[in-house]
């Protein structure tokens, strides 16, 4: 990839010593870049003056591909956006299609969507915390978080057969009803989840080295978080009280009791801890959803396989693990969308990287990147 790196700035100190800016390349396949991403870092001595992310290594042109496929054929594409949180992209896309084509979703399907997406949130946050921990050298945390994630993924596997790209939420409902005893397995998991999360909290967030590495790093003010379009744990870590599940309620979320978790300082530590505490809240939602889970069909009767919505456009969004994930669809009345746009939270959050790294050292770049928790499948689309 030819890329113009700005010419180095050279200055001379008061004592007449020459000072030259140092440009360091991190990536594209660096173990701590959370996917195939690259950051060009400009250093003045030890401190970062600019960190320019170079993205697009995973750009597959999903928006362009969507113009050439029917509405049902696009669902598997959305799996490949945020590949540690596929359920979200499925759901955001399906909500927009349902709005556009005026499809009613059976209540049981809405509940199942909430259950799988909250499970997905826990799995995704575990991935985020684990890889951020591994970046700071606490590799054993990765094993602890992956233990929890693995148990959730096994549940997904028994639900829909896939471990990563679920293709589970479909326009109109979900692909399969729960297998026998599935909800009991979920409740069993929830029974041990709190203990696992407590242990993680103590081991990682209570650790003096973690506190030293994460506290005060990459501080994001609430005003900047809003102005730069940050969402999800990145914005909430700065105390921005904004969660679509509560503030723009969709699906059956108004029926559940849960708290929106907020940080205070807006640093890497708070962003990480917001993710952890959100897992407890997700567990609360899942328990309530299983208790209220109604019977009935999971897909509406008589739904056409070839959906051809009337001409028009629609936008819908959900609170994904990384923030507000929106899908904008334009229909011209044919069975293929005229235009699909994915509003990716990871993309918008990653735009903050350079701002957050300013004045920090190179090892802190890794901490800040980990605390933004980007998934490059979604950043690049």
């Amino acid at each position: 990839m030819p890329l113009q790196i700005e010419s180095r700035k050279s200055t001379v100190t008061e004592e007449g010593l020459p000072v030259e800016e140092l440009v360091v390349n991190v990536g594209p396949s660096h173990p701590s870049t959370h996917g195939v991403g690259r950051v060009i870092v400009h250093l003045d001595g030890e401190s970062i003056t600019k960190a320019d992310p170079v993205i697009g290594y995973l750009h597959r042109g999903i928006e362009k591909m969507a113009e050439n496929r029917t509405y049902l054929q696009i669902v598997p594409l959305t799996d490949r956006l945020d590949y540690v949180g596929s359920m979200y992209a499925n759901w955001a896309y399906c909500r927009t299609v349902e709005r556009l084509a005026d499809i009613r979703v059976p209540e049981r399907a809405e509940y199942l969507r909430v259950i799988v997406c909250e499970l997905q949130r826990i799995a995704s946050h575990m991935m985020g915390i684990g890889s951020a921990a591994a970046d700071t050298g606490a590799f054993s945390m990765f094993i602890y978080t992956f233990d929890v994630r693995e148990r959730i993924i096994e549940l997904f596997e028994s639900l829909c057969g896939a471990r990563l790209t679920y293709n589970y939420v479909r326009p109109g409902g979900v692909s399969f009803d729960t297998p026998e005893g599935w909800t009991d397995q979920v409740l069993e998991l929830l029974g041990t989840l709190d203990a696992s999360l407590d242990e993680l909290d103590r081991l990682f967030f209570g650790n003096v080295i973690t506190r030293g590495r994460l506290k005060g790093i990459g501080v994001l003010s609430a005003e900047d978080a809003v102005a730069w379009g940050a969402s999800g744990p990145v914005a909430r870590g700065s105390g921005v009280d904004w969660d679509l599940r509560r503030d723009d309620p969709y699906s059956v979320y108004p029926r559940f009791e849960f708290d929106v978790v907020l940080g205070e300082n807006g640093d890497a530590y708070d962003r990480g801890r917001v993710r952890l505490v959100e897992c407890y809240e997700s567990a609360r939602i899942i328990a309530q959803a299983i208790e209220q889970l109604p019977g009935g069909a999971v897909r509406p009767e008589g739904l056409q396989r070839l959906i051809a919505p009337p001409p028009g456009e629609a936008y819908d969004h959900i609170e994904a693990a990384r923030g507000s994930l929106g899908v904008y669809l334009v229909s011209d009345g044919s069975p293929r969308p005229y235009r699909m746009k994915v509003r990716s939270p990871a993309f918008c959050n990653l735009a903050l990287l350079s701002k957050l790294c300013e004045g920090h050292t190179l090892p802190d770049l890794v901490v800040v990147l980990g605390s933004l928790d980007p998934v490059f499948g979604e950043v690049d689309r």
């Binding site: 030819p2 697009g56 042109g61 629609a314 929106g326 904008y328 235009r339 746009k341 990653l350 735009a351």
Partner: protein, 154 residues
Amino acid sequence: MSIYEAIRAVVEEMAPDLGITVTESWDDAILDIPAESLLAVGRELKARGFDRLGMVTAVDRDEEFELVYRVQSRTLSAAAFVKTRVARERASIDSLYEVWPAADWQEREVWDLFGIAFVGHPDLRRILLPEDWPGHPLRRDYEDANVIKRPDYI
């Protein structure tokens, strides 16, 4: 009061020479504006509590490009779409970076994939594609030997 009515009330307070028409689509309010008043509308909306720019995108409408902005207000708990159109030839429009810095990467993405230039953007470079990529793929007339059109019967 519905979101549409709330946004209508906000728009009625704004300067009348901006040329805004408000329409309702589903439960969203759409503000149709002429391209030259985009920056002024952006500033007015920001001053009236629309503090988040959620999405910037474009749609290729054959003769012209339609630009779609989604702005959110946490105080009103409402969101509105701002739409405007620019000519296809040498497409360009004012950047909203100075109003909402969130426009930074999103406008770069629109430039990359649609080739719409944003005047006043501090760093308008390609973002997803390599710098030497020919053309702008999300234009409907974009052609690439590797892109195979699916037959219509599927």
